[in-house]
Symmetry: C2
Subunit: 210 residues, 2 copies
DNA sequence: TTAGATAAGTATCTTTTGATACACAAAATT
DNA sequence: AATTTTGTGTATCAAAAGATACTTATCTAA
């Protein structure tokens, strides 16, 4: 737990000493294992999770399909929680831990309180709203206007942009889940990409040829 | 202009006397005619419009098609402006006046300043973020998972829910623009609805049955 | 080493959506 | 009254996406 604490203290968003003291006073630190479901659709959320280490995946579900909303990485929080905690609402999405994660959990009522008290907290909250909104807006435009093959291509190129390697260790099913379609559709399009020499397909990963 | 001022003073979101004084000190009131484009994609926004009277339509565009993001009615503001004004960004959507509208315009830099100073302003901003996010999330889920005929049906029933009449004075082209598809697709589906006795079609309006 | 789970390839068929083109009628404009 | 604009109906064709079903690998764990 000491290590987590150290990690937390390095987060720039909460460097204000008063705020840091307050957070430590009220927060709980929890650990989540890979696959743990932290937020369920319809759930009443009276807490705000801030990721210290690890990665959460937030997605919407519809019968047999799902679609990615966003990932929550270190120093970030979940829009769902923020939204429902602040306004006393229910979550309209699901959140699952993608890897072993360490999470700071705050009681919901503090969010509004600190809004007026701590400028850095205020900024953190608004930055969260803003960037999550932007992400979603972008995703919305993509889903509304672009065919899946284009979205898939963009997904793959965006993926390798943040990595040193051009290997994408993601299964077709996972891609389908992120893009809101089915596995067969993804496999079909990837095969087409392979014919066009854009990728090389392997079990468990995709190699991007640029 | 006096009438506008009176309308403004009745808005509950800004009933805090200090805040009201500040707004009146810094705001400009403008009038927009039907069809006036107030916000363009890519535009740098250094102002925040708050609608006093009338209606703005905010939408995304992609070559020949467009899709509705949300409407901005009285006592509401535009997420685009808020987002780009607060964080010094460019708009990623377009805004057009649907009818003759009266709008209060605030310089962008005040948004952040008042955030910490006036609780009611703080609440207004966060409520805006929250409700716009919810709307968008809902629209996103719809576009991702539901076929157009279902979305169209929901659109029509939602429309009459707020009206006393069951006549929807909207052209097929407008429906296409709101739902992100083309006129022919809408006409085709509506014809199907008519066969199923769900609607009766007329020039310029649609009559919902039951 | 064998059984079960997971990942991927592929064929077939259907439905949905989109693109294009043209006809016709009701408004609006001149 | 004549012309133009706008709104709608519809036919045809093509492409995109989804559903289903079955096969073949590869990996994992008993």
């Amino acid at each position: 737990m000491e290590a987590t604490l150290d990690l937390f203290k390095e987060l720039k968003s909460f460097s204000e000493p008063e705020l840091q003291k307050e957070i430590l006073k009220h927060a709980k630190f929890i650990k989540a294992n890979k696959g743990d479901i932290l937020i369920k659709e319809g759930q009443y959320l009276n807490f705000l999770p801030i990721v210290i280490k690890g990665l959460l995946r937030v997605y919407q579900q519809n019968e047999d399909r799902e679609i990615l909303l966003y990932y929550v990485g270190p120093e970030q929080t979940c829009m769902m929680s923020l939204s429902s905690a602040y306004f006393d609402y229910y979550s309209t999405a699901n959140g699952i831990a993608m890897e072993q994660s360490e999470i700071l959990v705050l009681p919901a009522h503090l969010i509004a309180e600190w809004q007026l008290k701590y400028p850095s907290w205020n900024k953190f909250i608004l930055r969260t709203f803003k960037s999550r909104y932007d992400e979603l807006l972008n995703a919305f435009g993509n889903v509304a206007f672009k065919p899946i093959n284009v979205r898939l291509k963009e997904y793959l190129t965006a993926y390798v942009k943040n990595e040193s390697s051009n290997k994408i260790p993601v299964s077709h099913q996972t891609l389908a889940n992120d893009l809101g379609t089915t596995r067969v559709v993804i496999s079909r399009i990837l095969k087409q990409f392979e014919k066009e020499k854009l990728v090389k397909l392997h079990r468990g990963y995709i190699q991007l040829i640029s």
